[in-house]
Amino acid sequence: MKIEEFKTLLELKLPGIAFKQVRDSLLVENPSDLPKVAFFLKNSDLEIDYLSSVTGSDYLDYLESVYHLYSTTKKTGLITLRVRVKRDAPNVPSLVPIYRSAEFQEREAYDMYGIIYEGHPDLRRLFMWEGFEGFPMRKDYIQEDSEWLEPEDLEWLEKHQVPVTEEMKERAKTPRIIKKDAGE
């Protein structure tokens, strides 16, 4: 089914939910409508029963959560859904109650982009460890300089009785991150 036909069908069946075609995918304008759409896709004649992937992406002005769906019974697909959320309030309703396969995928998107899936049963980090700060795939993430010892490293080395040269201690005092003003 072409995406244009699919859009008209969904608009007919789900009145009141705004869709927008973005290239080969369908943008659900209001993120809170997403579970309704997913429930309809799964339980209607379309029988879209397989959620293949949930990913995040960072478009600087907003974050996106992207869903790829297939039907294994009807051998149809791929249907791509998108949801756009603000960077500072990235709340998207979770699809775990509808598609169980969303559980780990949503955890991954949370881990990397910080998209908060509301209603997820166990929203923890997946790849990074507990205690890791920030979301490394966001474009404003500042990566550490792994060639430069910092005060906490020196503290740790002292605790474990590892000898550190004076030169290295001096270097640790100077800040390593060179911040530039945005929009220069």
Partner: protein, 252 residues
């Protein structure tokens, strides 16, 4: 007390002649090293695609058993050699260091592939450790992406050479005060703490990549996100077929 070097002074040609007569001349040191280098037991673990090459090396075609190193042990307590085969992620690094600490002396390390040496193609990744030699000492660095099985065998032969060069009197593991346990790094809010162990590894003085470290991708006028709402760019026009080629002599 200075110990005399236990070096064989018997001429190699004489040794060979005696060998033909069924007389073996050797030194304790030679015998000891021959035993050690001919039965290096590697630890059975792999981290990424280099492990596939390691498995291939252990199989019949390349047959690491020719070097006596076919017995991959599942326990660090029973292994002599640690082949770090693959990308070491920051999440995995403390475990690799812990495994190294648990190995019994004498112990050796081969880093297999670009990732284990210095991070390889993933060097800029937030999750990738830039070389396991930041935390544990390495005997043989084996470049490649991944190294072919022949390369791993070559690395093993280099390690055998190193073992042959060691003497019982001066080996570290019979000396007092040997410290070959290294502190295990911890997970921090941005990466591992510490970033490296200065006892073992130090950053290079000049690093042309330094400017790139610790820089955010700026959100501002310079950076632009792709505009998805705009129609996709038109495909590149196909160049028109060249004007008809001059007729070949055969056609004319």
């Amino acid at each position: 007390m200075a110990l005399a070097q236990n070096i064989s002074t018997v001429d190699d040609g004489l040794k060979s002649e005696l060998g033909k007569k069924g007389i073996v001349v050797t030194t304790l040191n030679e015998l000891y090293n021959w035993g050690r280098r001919s039965s290096i037991w590697p630890m059975q673990f792999g981290l990424a695609c280099c492990a596939i090459e390691m498995i291939a090396t252990a199989c019949a075609r390349y047959d690491i058993a020719r070097f006596g190193a076919e017995l991959f042990r599942a326990s660090p307590r029973q292994s002599d050699l640690m082949i770090v085969a693959g990308t070491v992620t920051k999440k995995m690094a403390p475990n690799v260091v812990r495994l190294y600490n648990q190995m019994a002396e004498p112990k050796y390390v081969i880093t297999m592939g670009a990732c284990a040496i210095a991070g390889g193609p993933f060097i800029d990744g937030v999750n990738v450790l830039r070389g396991i030699d930041r935390y544990i000492p390495v005997d043989v660095h084996l470049p490649g992406c991944p190294p072919r099985p022949e390369a791993l065998l070559y690395g093993l032969m280099e390690l055998q050479k190193k073992i042959d060069g060691q003497t019982i009197e001066t080996t570290e593991w019979y000396q007092k005060g040997l410290k070959r346990e290294f502190p295990i790094p911890e997970y921090g809010p941005k990466g591992l703490i510490p970033k490296f162990n200065p006892e073992i590894w130090n950053p290079r003085e000049e690093d042309h990549r330094r400017e790139r470290y610790g820089q955010p991708i700026l959100i501002g006028k310079k950076t632009k996100a792709p505009n998805l709402d705009a129609p996709p760019a038109a495909p590149r026009p196909v160049p028109a077929p060249a004007a008809t080629a001059p007729t070949s002599p055969a056609a004319s």
